[in-house]
């Protein structure tokens, strides 16, 4: 593990110096996690592929500003979530022009853009986790996933969910309590922080 970190640090330094081979190695190593984050946030593989690629570009461009204060993988995770948040906000602003016209001339009702709260889904995950998440009210489960898996902060979750921060806090708290019952219990907070990146 220590060797891996040393190698990664050396690769980052080489990539920061313009070594394309080192950059390629780093991006290849991070792609799975970046794609997974994008997949969970965007809700489909094609959309995730687009945003994963955009994330890799941002990672490459922003590499000069990475100083190793966090693990490189953590930083990449953050860049991926930010990239997807940008895209989701963009989709929310974009008016939908989609309508289907049938042969008889009638049109299906137009949709009002993308409901981004439907983006996160877990139909493909293994049974025990899916069963637990499905047992929660969907908004509770999504809030917990956004906070504890995707590591978004309260304001970001509120933004993409279209609800107040207080509502997000409530959903996360209740969702965690329910999930704890199903999967293994709450952690007693007070000592170590569970996740990084909170701006609250």
């Amino acid at each position: 593990m220590a060797n891996e970190l040393l190698n990664e640090s050396a690769l980052v330094q080489r990539a920061q110096s313009g070594d394309r081979g080192a950059l390629e190695t780093l991006l290849t190593a991070q792609y799975q996690r970046v794609f997974a984050v994008c997949f969970r946030m965007m809700g489909s593989r094609p959309a995730a592929e687009d945003q994963a690629q955009e994330s890799l570009i941002r990672i490459s461009r922003g590499l000069a500003g990475f100083h190793g204060n966090a693990a490189f993988s953590t930083w990449c995770h953050r860049v991926a979530t930010t990239t997807c948040l940008d895209e989701l906000r963009k989709q929310r602003r974009r008016p939908s022009t989609t309508s289907l016209t049938h042969e008889d001339g009638s049109e299906d009702e137009k949709t009002d853009g993308v409901d981004i709260t439907t983006a996160i889904e877990w139909t493909d995950v293994r049974a025990d986790i899916r069963t637990a998440l499905d047992a929660l009210p969907v908004e509770f489960a999504r809030a917990v996933v956004m906070r504890d898996v995707l590591e978004l902060d309260y304001s970001e979750i509120a933004d993409i969910s279209g609800v107040a921060v207080g509502t997000v806090k409530s959903r996360i708290s209740r969702g965690r309590a329910m999930l704890a019952e199903l999967l293994g219990g709450n952690r007693d907070t007070g000592d170590g922080r569970l996740t990084s990146g909170d701006n609250q």
Binding site: Q32, A36, R40, A64, G65, L85, V145, D148, N186, R187
Partner: protein, 251 residues
């Protein structure tokens, strides 16, 4: 749970056990399948895109980059001229009217002075560089300038290398700026009538203009004018975090 109770919650209140978090992350992130082919294609596409755009989009200060490119171009042009000189080619420079002047290059042993070659480095703008180059040439050619062919070849390689390096280090040598100096920097950029790059849907901004990219507190940041409210934003390029927002009246 009352509203007051909710507002007292912190991000880790009621946090799940780390084992549960690990199970969730494993199921939702680690177990997402990615084929080697998809991974390779995605990474290669990014590398190709970076290779294609690096000279034009990874910018420092925009007018400075234009100046650097022109300077590099001048250096390469000078190198080409040296090769031509080494080969014994006769160049003619027309400066117009009665001042027309002929530059004759013959096989000889006079070495070219460094001053002739450095003119492109010393100019502050592309136009000035061009003007000065035209003006400096007669001085440089009062004596017939001849370089041996091998020397010219070395010079060409050195200059081309310098020109290439100039572009390559463009990003690595981003100017480091204190966040307090940013309003002054932006004012200077505007005073210089630089050409901002239009942006749309960037980091949550609907419409903006990229003024410059600099290093602030060790972070690569973009200085962007938000056209919606005519304010200036300093954004962390990787995370889109807003590091500062200001107006040009000093606020």
């Amino acid at each position: 749970m009352s509203d007051d109770d909710v507002n007292q919650l912190t991000p880790d209140d009621g946090a799940l056990d780390e084992v549960v978090i690990a199970r969730l992350r494993a199921a939702l992130l680690d177990e997402v399948e990615v084929t080697d082919r998809a991974r390779h294609q995605a990474v290669q596409a990014v590398i190709d895109q970076l290779d294609d755009e690096s000279p034009s989009t990874l910018v420092t200060e925009l007018s400075s980059r234009r100046r650097n490119r022109m300077s590099s171009w001048m250096q390469v042009a000078a190198a080409v001229a040296v090769v031509a000189i080494g080969a014994g080619v006769v160049l003619q420079l027309q400066t117009g009217g009665d001042d027309s002047m002929e530059l004759s290059v013959k096989q000889a042993t006079v070495e070219r002075s460094e001053g002739d070659f450095s003119l492109a480095y010393e100019e502050d703008s592309a136009d000035e560089a061009s003007d000065s180059a035209a003006g400096a040439m007669p001085e440089a050619t009062e004596e017939s300038i001849v370089a041996e062919e091998s020397m010219a070849s070395d010079d060409e390689m050195a200059v081309e290398k310098a020109a290439t390096a100039d572009l390559a280090v463009d990003v690595a040598d981003l100017p480091a700026v204190s966040i307090n100096d940013l309003p002054t920097l932006v004012a200077e950029l505007i005073a210089r009538e630089h050409s901002p790059i239009p942006l749309s849907n960037f980091c949550g901004l609907d419409e903006g203009e990229l003024l410059a990219e600099v290093v602030v507190d060790g972070e690569l940041v973009s200085i962007i004018r938000d056209l919606a409210d005519d304010t200036y934003l300093v954004l962390n390029q990787a995370t889109c975090d807003v590091l500062a927002k200001f107006e040009l009246d000093g606020q």
